[in-house]
């Protein structure tokens, strides 16, 4: 067993490798401080490096502090140490990933991008660059830019912005009570207990007020071909919401309806989206809004629309088979929730007119009709969710219809 020297950690190829690996982890989103790197080097000294599994376990024990980082770590480790067969010498070249034969697992894109960054740069330089990359004017441009016309890098920025969005806190008054000094209801039990301190004389009156809770949200998301550019970002948005509040149900529909609520509960967005994709069969196929709404109303409506739920219907409404059935199902959906908000990326065109038959059918049955194609409109949506519902806000719809 070697002694561990904290001041003079081991150097050489192994040190370079571990530092490089830590950098890759950091770039992939796992917070790794310099202290952890020194710990890792010492730990590797302490074990007899003989096989891959031991090294893996050691590094994982030091670098991974949260369950949701395990997957990213596993991928990064595989890519980084792929060619290092000789564990005694841990090769110092960083093998860049070639394209995997099978479908890349979730989070791998992030890890690959992280590894592909030139590793010989100074860390601080990178940090500064990160801050400079988004100057004020860029941010403004990004706010207004249509999701459909963004490059991969911009999408990444937007995803980050979405993850940091302040989420709505539209409070619904529930029928349960909790102690509240400003409440309106007398809490006899606590009042009596406090009166015992004064020998049974009631001096301070304790009160109860209603508990407030964010309203449940049910999102119905169109994943047909015409919506494909927006789908992924909406899912990021919904994932961010799902993280922050318990009661969010998400359904995807193309030609059929799929409930992906549980799939979205994974902490890591990539992992969540990957498990969504695997549970949906008709990704970017056609749309059958009426059929999908029908199965939602029949199978799920009564199960998820209780407790004053707000429904977000995210679709462009381009339905070929628009008939009375569509209007009927929309009407049913509208009547079984507290608020129905239709988000339509087509509204980005200022000259948008409800000409398509499907849109005309659906419009009379929604409380709000909003654009949702860039960051500004998403923030607008959040504000709308936080605000108290306008009293049947139909003026815009009437003008559009």
């Amino acid at each position: 067993m070697t002694t561990i020297d904290h001041l003079n950690p081991p150097t050489g190829h192994m040190a370079d490798n571990v530092v490089g690996f830590a950098r890759a982890l950091r770039a992939a989103g796992i917070p790794v401080g310099p202290g952890a790197v020194i710990d890792a080097l010492n730990a590797l000294q302490a074990i007899e490096i003989g096989n891959r599994a031991d090294v893996y376990a050691t590094l994982e024990a030091i670098f991974v502090k949260r369950h949701e980082h395990m997957l990213i770590f596993a991928q990064a480790f595989d890519l980084f140490f792929r060619a290092a067969e000789d564990w005694k010498h841990m090769l110092d070249s960083v093998p860049l990933p070639d394209h995997a034969k099978k479908k890349p697992p979730p989070a791998s894109r992030r890890v690959q991008e992280a590894l592909a960054q030139p590793s010989m740069r100074d860390e601080t330089e990178q940090v500064q660059e990160q801050e400079l990359r988004l100057s004020v004017s860029d941010k403004e441009i990004l706010q207004k830019k249509d999701f459909a016309q963004m490059s991969a890098a911009e999408i990444a920025e937007v995803t980050r912005a979405i993850a940091n969005m302040k989420l709505p806190q539209a409070e619904l008054r529930t029928r349960r009570y909790q102690p509240d000094a400003k409440g309106l209801r007398l809490d006899m039990r606590r009042t009596l207990r406090s009166s015992l301190r004064t020998g049974g004389e009631i001096i301070d009156i304790r009160k109860l007020g209603r508990i407030e809770k964010p309203a449940p949200i049910v999102a119905l998301l169109d994943i047909s071909g015409s919506m494909s550019e927006y789908t992924r970002l909406f899912l990021h948005f919904l994932h961010a919401i799902t993280d922050a509040r318990k009661r969010v149900s998400v359904f995807l529909f193309g030609t059929r309806l799929t409930n992906v609520t549980r799939a979205l509960r994974a902490k890591d967005p990539d992992e969540a989206l990957a498990s969504c994709s695997s549970s949906v069969e008709d990704w970017a196929g056609g749309t059958r809004i009426a059929t999908s709404l029908h199965s939602f109303n029949k199978l799920w409506g009564r199960r998820v629309l209780g407790q004053g739920a707000i429904v977000l219907l995210i679709s462009d409404g381009l339905e070929r088979e628009a008939d009375a059935k569509l209007a009927f199902e929309m009407d049913r959906l509208h009547r079984s929730c507290r608020r129905l908000i239709w988000l339509n990326p087509l509204l980005r065109y200022s000259a948008f007119e409800a000409k398509a038959q499907g849109i005309k059918m659906m419009l009379p049955h929604v409380d709000e009709f909003r654009p949702v194609h860039n960051l500004t409109s998403m923030e607008g949506l959040i504000e709308a969710l936080s605000a108290p519902p306008p009293p049947h806000h139909m003026s815009r719809i009437r003008s559009a219809a």
Partner: protein, 302 residues
Amino acid sequence: MSTSALPKSVDGMLELLTSRGYLAERSLATVTYLSLRMGRPLFLEGEAGVGKTEIAKVLSAALGRKLIRLQCYEGLDVASAVYEWSSAAQMIAIRLAEAAGDTDREQLSSDIFAERFLIKRPLLQALEPDVAGAPVLLIDELDRADEAFEAYLLEILSDFQVTIPEFGTIRAPHPPIVIITSNRTREIHDALKRRCLYHWVDYPEAERELAIVKSRVPNISAKLSQQVVRFVQALRDQDFYKSPGVAETIDWATALTELDARSLTPQLVGDTLGALLKYQDDIARMQGDTLQKVLKDATSED
């Protein structure tokens, strides 16, 4: 009310239920038997009117146990589900103590938080010892209560005890037989379902439904009962918003016998459809050709 021993087998359970006029599927009898043997709550989910609540009533009657029912609703809290202090009685007690000149505060607080000031609600009643044996606790339509109540219930169902801060802990000597029903107006949390034995109660097939109608509506003619069951079974194949349950079938059969019907006619069905279908959209769909077709199939002699 005589106490009978718990059934010793699935067949025993089937017999017990049948003797009380509850014609259960074997799978339901099995899961009920297991829940009694293992002392685990029984969690029944299914459409309205398939006999979820009924099984608790039948069990309590057949076993001679007391039935304690807790009907859930939004906003249900500890004060209405478990216990509450009777503050009016407590205040009177305080005034009396004052009038008698007692000024010992310790004494006073232990006096007014005594059991006689405790108002016991269903869940607490279910934990109390009973001469006839542990009661049957029916928690009806749990999906209507809020999640917070569910969490509280989980605690009670795991160790069958309630702690009252001012009073102490009340523990059940024998855990009650717990039956929870849900109509799925929202999903119940996994944690609670894990504690229970789960069973989805489905609509019965034609043969069983016919037996149910005959046992529940004894004076119905054989021909009419067959037509009624065929008609209802056909309705369930249609894509209705709310399909008729067994309860509706029994209601309808009763209504038809009250009207002295011998067999189904379009006029009769049209007039009494409200006993089967409870949504205007559904009733509107059952007019004209659709009604004729279903009726023709139901009344054809084969």
